[in-house]
């Protein structure tokens, strides 16, 4: 039996159960058990999905969201890893920033939108900075933790063999913290998607969040489902794709926070 064939044979329930649900949904909406106004048939949704992507609407909005996520993630990664490494290395900095971070971190990031819009020019930049906030804290936290959990013995051995400064950093501290950094980046990217959708709902006219909200306001239910599907797909790719990437890049380590 081929590999995919075997996989299906082992997981036929997992494959079959969503299929059965979809068919049941199709039947229920068509026969009026479910209100078609709220729960359109999966086949109708699919047609709308194809239409929306054929006329380019969906692609344009998806592209806008992806660009925002990309910038926010880059900001969060650069500052998060930088500050996280510094906090891991210098105790004083860590002691000073820990309480500040502890208070700010649990605040839902969409609430930062007003604050950020006072600080930077409102519009695109404010959207991106707001999206980056929570991801930044996640990356900084995990990086700090990653540096701190490195075995002291390893560091001492490296120092004894004469590694210091940039060399100690590049060949001992960074590789040691890498699994944690990667987990932080993965979680951070996931959060960037969550926040960008919320922020787009509140204050954007483009992007998947805005498309979803707009479709709700004019009660285009099929478009809502189509947008939802794209967001879900994006979420799945970001979270499972990155897990796979980690397994491929850093095969020697367990993910420190498998979902």
């Amino acid at each position: 039996m081929t590999a995919p064939g075997r996989w299906v044979a082992e997981h036929w329930i997992a494959v079959g159960s969503p299929l059965v649900s979809l068919i049941a949904w199709e039947w229920a909406s068509a026969s009026g058990v479910l209100r078609e106004a709220f729960f359109p048939r999966p086949s109708t949704m699919f047609v709308h999905l194809v239409q929306l992507s054929a006329d380019g609407t969906l692609w344009a909005h998806t592209a806008r969201s992806l660009v925002r996520i990309g910038w926010a993630f880059a900001l969060a990664a650069v500052f998060g890893v930088g500050i996280g490494l510094a906090m891991g290395l210098w105790r004083r900095l860590r002691d000073g920033l820990d309480p500040v971070f502890a208070v700010i971190y649990p605040i839902p990031s969409v609430l930062f939108l007003p604050l950020v819009s006072f600080l930077v020019p409102p519009g695109e930049i404010a959207l991106i900075v707001t999206t980056a906030v929570t991801s930044f804290f996640l990356v900084a936290f995990t990086t700090t933790h990653g540096v701190r959990q490195i075995d002291r013995l390893v560091v001492e051995a490296a120092v004894h063999y004469g590694a210091r400064g940039p060399r100690l950093f590049a060949s001992v501290l960074l590789p040691g913290a890498l699994p944690f950094i990667f987990t932080g980046l993965r979680l951070g990217l996931g959060f960037a998607l969550i926040v960008v959708v919320a922020v787009e709902i509140v204050s954007a006219s483009t992007g998947l969040g805005a498309l979803l909200w707009l479709s709700w306001q004019i009660l285009k239910v099929e478009d809502m489902y189509a947008t939802f599907f794209v967001i879900a797909l994006l979420g799945a790719v970001l979270s499972y794709g990155l897990s796979a990437l980690r397994a491929w890049l850093l095969p020697w380590v367990q993910d420190v926070a498998e979902p």
Binding site: V103, P106, P108, P114
Partner: protein, 247 residues
């Protein structure tokens, strides 16, 4: 000593705002925010809206936890159940739960039920996943020992599986509560007409910044209090276990 840096930052903000180095309109002095906090909490809208948010949070958490823990346990012990349910969980878990809000708004109408359910789904999936992981990652030797001593069926479940999964369940509940708060405040910010999230939005629109920062601080305090409180509770109740999901 621990609070030196926050204190210095707040002091700096105070001075900059008083001397109008930063615009006091956008960044009012922290003492003014604190005054608003004290003044408006008891008889103003701050206390009332905090209560609204806490009530919604409690409802959402209960709605999530009550079905999620049994479902997670059932998925852990019965493979067919896991196979049936897992695809849906894997599909919905990475989706930003705020996207469910418009669907719930058209199905249930604009109101409390839609707000609370959006927050509840956020917690639900986290709790199911943590509970399932708790059962799946338990030491198989525990099961063997239990079986060798004659435990099976319900007895094996109550005496071995449930206690072994308890720390993970608790972690799931703690993470779930945090996620529910995040989703709830976002929902309030976007669609509700009450609650702390809405207060931040309204005072932002009206540019009454001291009130905005006061509501903001209350959300932070609520989040910090819940996280710290549950962590302490977990350490006390499950003293024999290390936290499984510290990150």
């Amino acid at each position: 000593m621990v609070y030196a840096v926050p204190a210095v930052l707040l002091g700096l903000w105070e001075v900059c705002s008083r001397l109008a180095i930063v615009s006091p309109r956008y960044f009012p002095p922290p003492t003014q925010v604190a005054w608003v906090l004290v003044d408006r909490f008891a008889d103003g809208d701050l206390g009332a809206n905090t209560l609204v948010t806490v009530t919604r949070l409690a409802a959402a958490f209960a709605l999530a936890a009550v079905p999620a823990v049994p479902l997670g346990l059932l998925m852990g012990i019965a493979r067919p159940v896991r196979e049936v349910v897992e695809p849906y969980i894997a599909f919905i878990f990475p989706v930003p739960k705020i996207t469910l809000l418009p669907f719930l708004l058209i199905i249930l109408g604009v109101g409390e039920a839609a707000f609370v359910l959006t927050a509840a789904t956020s917690a639900f999936f986290q709790i199911v996943i943590s509970t399932l992981a708790g059962v799946q990652t338990m030491d198989p030797r525990l099961l063997e020992v239990g079986r060798n001593y004659g435990a099976h069926g319900p007895r094996l479940f109550w005496k071995i599986i449930l206690p072994a999964a308890l720390p993970a369940i608790f972690t799931g509940l703690r993470l779930g509560l945090g996620l529910a708060l995040v989703a709830l405040v976002a929902v309030e910010f976007i669609a509700a007409k009450s609650g702390l999230g809405h207060l931040v939005y309204r005072h932002w629109q009206m540019l009454s910044t001291p009130e905005m920062y006061a509501a903001f601080a209350l959300v932070g305090a609520l989040g910090l209090g819940l996280t710290r409180g549950l962590r302490a509770l977990q350490a006390r109740l499950l003293a024999w276990q290390e936290d499984v999901g510290r990150l």
